[in-house]
Symmetry: C2
Subunit: 784 residues, 2 copies
């Protein structure tokens, strides 16, 4: 791996008017703690955020017209006390980049080191110059630990009076973010102080939330290396711990403060405040004992191990090379390999969508992590399993069998406040089942099936079997649901849903037969399995014979067309300018839906159907969702429109880096980032594994000379290297390993003994590129 | 007309635990003022209410997940200051029916006198007995005037110290009514005092609302006839006017106080407070000048005139005879013949549905008043016309052509907070057009067409023409809408909607051709008219050939059946026990929808189709809406199921009198009351006029010996009298009059010269009664 700019995300003084983006892009996390990339001094700030996975407050939902089973509460992410803060006063004036003179400034996210480095040279309004450097990390190996090293040097020839305050601040003010329905609901002052300790360089704050009854403790301990003449003092209020170091810093001297923080949370009726305080204090002390440099070394070692599998090399487009590494980095740090934590739609990088977990996790993020860090997928699926009780309760409330998982949630309860695009989007249940099946196929982890996977499959299969119905036409129909396309709702036989239901039912049947004892414990009998298989075989597949295309849902292709000619660029996203009344009943598609069905269930369509379907839906898909571009790229590549595929890939990859959706401030779109990897590996690598068979149909876009990536597959690391002429498959880590795969349809056996090199298959000629809706074709960058 | 109990609604001490019902049942109104039938003393009370038509406050709506064009405000009815109050203290103890000893008590609504008489004999806890009598009226001829006469006599042999306070109270406390979504939203203390006057026996309060910026003034003036030794004083605070009369009342003496009240309201930027105060003071003084007995005489004369047309004589079922007169009385007093006021769903009898106007008005109430008091229909349609600007604005917001009238409103703006059953119920626009067409057909009032009707027809026709679309099948489709059945939403080609669209388009075309000059002013050209006619001819009519029935909407009969066998009585109404997710996708019908289509557009179906459709939908209709029974009764009668028709009629007629829906406290269900008349006249009288041709196909139910009713038809009063053997048609008021009609299909010419008597036609034998859903057949009372 070359040490070039593709491994760094650099934000400078030129980006200071887009602080919110910087805060999201430079967020650090380890699947447990998330620290946004705020400035050390906490100001200026667009959206502060220091999150713990699952830590939230509960609030009431009210409806102008309430209805049965409308959720009456929602959970919303709130910040834990922020321990990242280090504030500086120079001769009494606060370091604030909006004042004085900024000579240089940058914050750099180092994707291999896993740290954010900050460098600032600033002349205070009073004329005192300082150089500030900081290094911030959220430890990947130590789930509870984050740390900051902060250094100040004088720039001029005179001593400078300095005061540095290292703070932990609870209830930081979070600004409201306008009336966009996709932004977060802000809960002000969510934390109530329960206990505090302060002892020189160390301290602990313990707080609790009100209605969600969660307790959070944060400990900090410091290493200070003050030059002579500096004094240290501490101060503790219910919402703030502060260590103050002050004195006159001489030219050539350096003031350095290193802060080690540890976070835990627990239910209020779980660990008592003192015990939780003891725990975090010990974790912080242990980190200090280990030392900052050792934390840095551990961090790099952990990332080195991850990058060995996860790196994607993309020769020919340095910007997208960087974007893909950025994407993969954020996916890697979003989850944890241990325990049962999941990954919210924005990870722990912002409070968008109220910090909720949506179908994004199982449908976009886990299918990537299954190949790069399957332990993280397992952990996230265990989290779903841990919330089966709430899903069963919700199904009972909805008067349905089995389990219905929430459309939006933090703690397992349904938090969606608009049921036609929430509760009705039952496909999330099949998406979870699909993630289980993919994980098991890629890992062969049958132990997980017995422990959690089978129960997830069975309860979702029961839902579908009871929810669907047999009709006169001999088909099994799933009606009145909402599919992935949110510009349609309450449709019949959404094809994506139906094909995923088929996978769900068959997957449950297969797994139950492989695990008969566990299946019997779950009350599964042969007749139930037979019912699942019969329904799976018969699911309705709406098809328009006249137009020769599948229907996104029954009747879709007979709906009125959208009047694209009447639109201007200002009319996008359509959901902010048109009522659902119009969007729902017309042939306008927000995001890949039938196209996603072709991606997830490729064996259900012929190549010709895929090409016709792709062209038909491409012309009607406006990509008002960040979830869409990656999937469209995969299918564009498959049917042979490589330029379009490349431009769609670029859109997914740059969604946050270029803030294409103008929402990056609220947090990163992890599913879009996952889409970037997916566009490369499923699109250009041609990876498919929907039936547990690994296959590749590689095809390089014009601009890319060489593409290399790795996958974990049943305990092996398979490395794939593609050039214009050749595809090389190898197992670099295990001389005794073997992987069976297909290359362009032909079976190939790869062993650890030697790479297999095969010619690149020809790309089908699909004819002219199908039109996108006017003004909605992705920006062209396919030709350099 | 015999003077029997069928002309009175009597509530006694036995009803004191159902005060809320009494308050609604005994409400008085004149289409402008509405006084609930509360006790004079104001306590105990379940729901106070003194309303002015259109007087409301505005409040914010908030959504858990907001969407484009979701209404951000709603209007909600609030009480004007209550001038009905007269409070009594007996030897220092307040008259309160919950204390002391109640010897007798009754409140009687006299349907011919148009007053509520109250008689109470009460022994105070201290042992002093009094007889209290009051008479309350809301003047039909004088829109602004209401009055109360209040009398007290001692019951025992000793003088009784009395204090009587005649109050006007603003901001009476309104209790919250639980979490049923159909109840009102309570706005506390909606009125702010602006001005007050008090001058002995007279006084005025002027208040304003906050956000809706409406000003209300109420004046009172009193006639007191105090016996010797009584003193009178007055007292005035911002929210209360009080006249106090006190002294010792000797046996044989009587204390009588008569209060004359007048109400007006205006926009805050309209009439200034003083001018409004002057106006109401003059109106109150004028009423006093006229005298209470003269007001009583005027009231009876006004009602006599109305009852001449409106009375329905139903020999054989005294309870339903009373119920029908009760229903007609409330319909008559709900509207005004002058100006441009409409009739909310609950009239002015309660704050249910926030006092909103819904489609109930044009679809249920106006079709009755068109025959009984067509001036009231005209006034209500003028109100719609006055709110065309808001309807055009709303259409533009929805990015639709023409006008879209609100689903719920007070002041013309959309106030519905659940769009799938609000904004999407576009049929309200066709319902308004239909009410225009029926009014014009019954009255021949072409002046109204030029002034308002044509514009209503044209703007709604434009909506449909732009909203619908032509499909490959050569049909004109209206998709993604919600029909009358609220257990379905966002359906395609709801048959009721489509047939009403056809009427709307054709009616607009016909009217435009009859009024070419006005049409040209509205920009209607020949091509537009041709487009309307083409679409009207081609509207899709979904039909299930296999089952031989029409479909409520495309695909309805292929939806899963509802599992009625699994229900218990506690599961009704279903909307409080099942999610829309289940209700919408299954064959369960809340209320007449296809059946309503057959009622409104009878010429669109053959007799055989009606019979098959009725049976199919009867088995799936649960009548969770009070709108339903009347329409089902009409069709049951038409297809020949007279026992079922009678029982459905009874359910409609008794809906409020017997509080079948447990919601009468919130106000009367005017559409259900209208349904009672409709069941009688359209069901048993067999009245139809959907194409402007008046026809009757009469058939008496078993229990009814004789049925007589009248209609106003093109300036004539047509009286119809049905017995077992004969139908008699006559024009009693105009010896020179002529009406053409059909009797059982045969043309008949009725003149003022002599009645026409014809044999009753045979009733078709429809075979066995179709099943209703288990447990949902109406209570049988068809056989005495």
């Amino acid at each position: 791996m070359r040490d070039d700019e593709s491994w760094r995300i650099r934000r400078t003084d030129a980006d200071l008017d887009r602080l919110g983006e910087t805060e999201s892009l430079l967020a650090l996390g380890n699947g447990w703690i998330g620290w946004r990339g705020t400035l050390d001094e906490g100001e200026p700030v667009e959206m502060p955020g220091s999150y713990l996975n699952g830590f939230h407050e509960r609030r009431e939902l009210t409806y102008p017209e309430d209805g049965y089973a409308f959720p009456q509460h929602s959970d919303t992410v709130v910040s834990a006390p922020n321990a990242a803060l280090v504030k500086l006063w120079v001769a009494g004036e606060p370091l604030d980049l909006r004042t004085g003179t900024l000579r240089t400034h940058e914050q750099v996210l180092d994707l291999r080191a896993g740290v954010v480095e900050r460098r600032t040279e600033w002349i205070s309004p009073g004329g005192h110059g300082v150089r500030v450097r900081s290094t911030r990390l959220v430890s990947l190996p130590r789930h509870a630990v984050a740390a900051v090293r902060y250094e100040v040097e004088p720039l001029g020839d005179d001593p400078v009076p300095l005061r540095v305050c290292s703070d932990v601040q609870a209830n930081e003010r979070v600004p409201e973010r306008g009336d966009d329905p996709r932004a977060a609901t802000v809960v002000h002052d969510p934390l109530t102080a329960e206990a505090r300790r302060s002892d020189g360089c160390s301290g602990v704050l313990v707080h609790r939330t009100g209605r969600s009854a969660q307790r959070v403790a944060v400990a900090v301990t410091h290493e200070t290396e003050p030059p002579d003449g500096f004094t240290t003092s501490d101060d503790c209020t219910p919402d703030r711990l502060r260590l103050t170091v002050e004195g006159r810093l001489r030219p050539g001297d350096r003031l350095r403060i290193t802060k080690f923080a540890a976070y835990e949370c627990a239910p209020v009726d779980g660990t008592p405040p003192d015990a939780l305080a003891d725990l975090v204090a010990a974790e912080a002390a242990d980190a200090r004992e280990h030392g900052f440099d050792a934390l840095l070394a551990d961090q790099r070692a952990a990332l080195d191990a991850l990058w060995t599998t996860a790196d994607v090399e993309l020769d020919g487009d340095p910007e997208l090379q960087q974007a893909v590494r950025f994407a993969v980095f954020h996916l890697l740090q979003a989850g944890r390999p241990d325990g049962d934590r999941t990954i919210p739609a924005k990870g722990l990088t912002g409070n968008g969508y109220d910090g909720h977990v949506l179908w994004d996790t199982e449908s976009y993020v886990l299918p990537v992590l299954t190949y790069l860090a399957p332990e993280v997928t397992r952990s996230a699926l265990r989290w779903r399993h841990a919330h089966l009780p709430e899903a069963r309760e919700r199904a009972a409330e909805l008067r349905l069998p089995g389990a219905t998982f929430p459309w939006r949630t933090i703690a397992g309860r349904e938090c969606s406040g608009y049921w036609p695009a929430g509760t009705a989007a039952l496909h999330v249940n099949a998406d979870i089942a699909d993630a289980v099946l993919r994980y098991v196929a890629a890992t062969g982890d049958e132990e997980f099936v017995g422990e959690a996977g089978l129960e997830l499959l069975v309860e979702t299969a029961r839902l579908w079997h009871g929810f669907g119905h047999w009709s006169d036409d001999g088909a099994f129909h799933v009606t009145g649901v909402t599919g992935p396309d949110e510009y349609a709702a309450l449709v019949d036989d959404n094809l994506f849903t139906n094909l995923m239901v088929r996978r769900n039912l068959r997957g449950a049947a297969d797994a139950a037969e492989r695990h008969p004892v566990r299946a019997a414990e779950l009350g599964v009998e042969a007749a139930e399995i037979a019912g699942w298989r019969a329904a799976a075989d018969a699911v309705a597949v709406p098809y328009d014979r006249k137009r020769g295309v599948h229907q996104q849902a029954a009747g879709f292709t007979e709906q009125p067309e959208w009047d694209f000619a009447a639109l201007t660029d200002d009319d996008y996203p359509l959901l902010l300018h048109f009522p659902y009344l119009e969007l729902y009943r017309k042939q306008v598609v927000k995001q890949a839906d039938l196209v996603l069905a072709m991606q997830r269930c490729p064996g259900e369509f012929t190549a010709e159907e895929k090409a016709r379907n792709f062209a038909y839906y491409e012309a009607r898909t406006v990509r008002d969702s960040s979830l869409s571009a990656g999937s469209q790229a995969v299918l564009a590549a498959e049917v042979g429109h490589l330029d379009l595929a490349y431009d769609l890939f670029a859109e997914a990859a740059l969604h946050d880096l270029a803030d294409l959706g103008d929402k990056t401030t609220d947090g990163l779109h992890l599913a879009a980032l996952a889409g970037a990897w997916t566009a490369v590996v499923e699109g250009f690598g041609g990876l498919r594994d929907d039936r547990g068979d690994l296959s590749f149909a590689p095809r390089l876009p014009a601009r890319i000379r060489r593409l290399a990536f790795s996958l974990r597959w049943r305990g092996q690391r398979l490395r794939v290297t593609l050039t214009r002429d050749e595809a090389r498959y190898e197992l670099p880590d295990d001389p005794d390993g073997t992987v069976e795969l297909r290359h362009s349809g032909e079976p190939v056996r790869v062993t650890g003994a030697a790479p297999v090199t095969l010619p690149m298959p020809p790309v089908p000629d699909p004819g002219p590129e199908p039109p996108s809706p006017p003004g909605r074709r992705p920006h062209p960058r396919s030709t350099p």
